[in-house]
Each structure stands twice: as C-alpha cells, then as structure tokens.
Symmetry: C2
Subunit: 209 residues, 2 copies
Amino acid sequence: MLDIAILGLLEEGELHGYEIRRRLRAQLGILANVSFGSLYPALNRLKNAGAIEATEVRSSPPRERPPAPLTGSISGERAVFKARRRSLPKERRSRKVYRITDEGRRLFTELMQGGDSEDSRTFGLRLAFARHLTPSARLGLLERRRARLVERLNDARSAARDDSLDTYARSVMEHNADEVEHDISWLDQLIANERLVPATATPTRHDDG
Amino acid sequence: MLDIAILGLLEEGELHGYEIRRRLRAQLGILANVSFGSLYPALNRLKNAGAIEATEVRSSPPRERPPAPLTGSISGERAVFKARRRSLPKERRSRKVYRITDEGRRLFTELMQGGDSEDSRTFGLRLAFARHLTPSARLGLLERRRARLVERLNDARSAARDDSLDTYARSVMEHNADEVEHDISWLDQLIANERLVPATATPTRHDDG
DNA sequence: GAGTAAGTATATCGCTTCGATATAACGGCC
DNA sequence: GGCCGTTATATCGAAGCGATATACTTACTC
C-alpha cells in the first residue's frame, strides 16, 4: 500500500523521506497519513528490491564555512552566519534523496493493476495515480472496485436488517450501507466519464525541469 | 480496537473464538472483518490481562446447544434443528468458551470512553456498543468525534483545492471531503436525537437465558 | 545575544493486525 | 473408503502505527 504511494510520488521526481511524507499528507490527506515508522522501513524495502535508489546529500551550499575559528575575528564569522541565515533556507542537514529505477516503474505498474482494491485507502491511492494507467486499465480498476462495492452493499444491507441490533448498532450499519451506496454512484459517474472521453482523456504529461 | 469488539460481544454472553469471529463479521460487517491471526492473539492478550476467562469444552452431548441466547423464537430453533440434522451437528471438537470478568467489564468501559476515535472503524465500533454507555458519555463520544471530523473536513477541502492535482486525484479528494461532510451531518442527527430523548433512551437491558 | 521553542530530517522499537498456512475432528457424498 | 467442506484453534512473517531518540537549523522571545 505504502509502496504504491511512494513509487507514485517518485514517478514525478526525486524526493527525500521527509518530503515524501509531507506530500503524502498534504496531497492525499487521510489516504496516506503515514508515519515514519512505516515510511522509512518501506523506503529500505524498496531500495533492497531495487525499485528505488538513494543518494546521500550532504548539506553543501556553494559557500563553505571557514575551517577554523582561529583568530579573534568573531565579527567576521558572525557576519557570515547572519548572511547565511538570510539567504539560504534551502540546504539543511544531510538527506537521502530517493529516485525511482526502471525496476521501480515496472513494479509500480504491477502494483497499480494487480490485486483487488480491498480497502478504500488502497483504491483511493490507485485512483489518485490513475493518470499513469492506460484508459482500459483505468476502466478495469473502476469496474472491479464497483463490483466489490456491490457485494459489500449486499452484506451491509442484510447486516442492517438484523433484528438483534439495537438503535445504535443499527444506525452504524445503515450509515455504513449508505456510504457504500454513495461510493457506488460516485464510481458510476467516474466510469461514465471514462467512457465518454476515451480519447480526450488526460494529456497530463508535463516536461519536468 | 479488537479488544473493544471482543469485550463488547462477551458482555452479552459467553462465546468461543470461532463464534466471536462469525458474529463480528455478520453483525458489524466491515467494521470488524477480523482474521484469526488477530483474534486469537487478542483473546490470549485479554486472558493474560485478566479481562476474560476461558473454559475448555470437550465435545458435549449433541442435545445441548450452549452458545445461542440470541432469539427466543421457536421457528428459529426448529430451523436450527433441521439444519443440524442435515449438515451441522453443532457440537464438534473441543472449544474454548470465553467469559468476561469484572476486570473485563471495567476495561471495556475504559476503552469505550478513553482516547479519541481516530479512525472510523474504532468510532463505529464504539457507537455500535454505545448502549453500554451512560447518556452523557454517549453524547461526549459523539461530540468528540464530530469535532475531529470538522478538523478533517478543513484538511480535506484544502487538499482538494490544491492546483497541482490532476482530475483523478482531485476527484478522490473531493469525494473524500464529501464523505466527511456526510458523516458530520449523520452525527448531527445522532446528537440531536440524544438531546431530545435523554430519559427515554434505550432501556436495552435484556434478561439472558 | 542567550535561551528555547519549533521545524526539518533520519531512524528504531514494541505492539497490533493481517493474510496465509498448519492441524485436527467430524459429516456428507460418491 | 477416500475426499471435500465446515467448524475450530493456533502460529508465522510481513506491514503499519505511535512513540521515541537524535541531530541540526531557523525563528521567537526576553
């Protein structure tokens, strides 16, 4: 699950760990509210699998710090320090910048297609990166998800009919079923849209600087 | 999370592992689609914590049916009997029947109240067992959840406004926000209902067997 | 200008949960 | 009699989470 998210982000450019997490939270919200305790192991896992490469970047702005504070020119150092504080908010401490490999791109495609999107998070993630899929793969993703939700709706409705449930449990079950229904009609819209504009769809390729 | 579900079920009568799982799936659906790989460790955990007790039951005489205090309906019993003659003789191999203790009841109350219901599953589980809470605790649960969802709605809306998102990602984000909004108005109804009927609320105490 | 709070960045630990799998006993079926 | 499906308990490895540790920088306050 995390693998899809990481590879999907790295498809668009190299990033370091902290930034990956920041973007996942900002762009995908609850879908990928990921903690470091899962992110860093996931990055190592992907690195060991050859899906990504890491480069250690030392905090090296073009200007070097004076090697030794030998003399009493404290004011000189202070000036440098001050100037630095103003002008370079960019380079911080050592980071590991991750870059996707060919194997990673292959794996990404595989993960995007394969398996069924059991939970809504995995599906949401896949759909969020759906521009990387071919139109037919995209349609397949939507339709498989829809089929699964129809199954679930049946279960949810029959669970809600259970006589042994009290007010609260029943309310939860009914709300649950309503949400699944809502999800299905959302998917129906997406599917209809896919079918209407098969050729016009998403010229989202952009040249990266 | 599982602890709440297990203790909540055992509040209403003693059950064995397999049956606990069956009921969780049937009655709570997606909320507690639990696997044995989490159920049995959870049962052992609770046992070690003194929250539940286990009794090994050897293949008892086929006459007795200990497990089901669910319905009092005659037709239901006849149906069970008939089904039994055909396919399921009900008493099979050795089982471990679990029973909640006083400590377990204390823990259950604590888990039901404590912490914030971060994910919707934990909240749904708590609400499904809300009849065990006092009216004020119930109201608190609903209001804390509502507050959290309002926060989340802000995040979701601002994430959906992000210009860098393509059609698919934006659709996911917007759908997400819509669902949160829907959740909030559902909660508003529940809260209004709680406030309207504070005395009439849920005399759900039932005499068992 | 010193102290400190907050932000950036990587990493690990223990715990929970999941999916897969093993094992075992029994009934139904051909 | 052999095999499959159901009931039942249990364990394993992998994945993910929350908490925590460490280290460096930047920003805010007195």
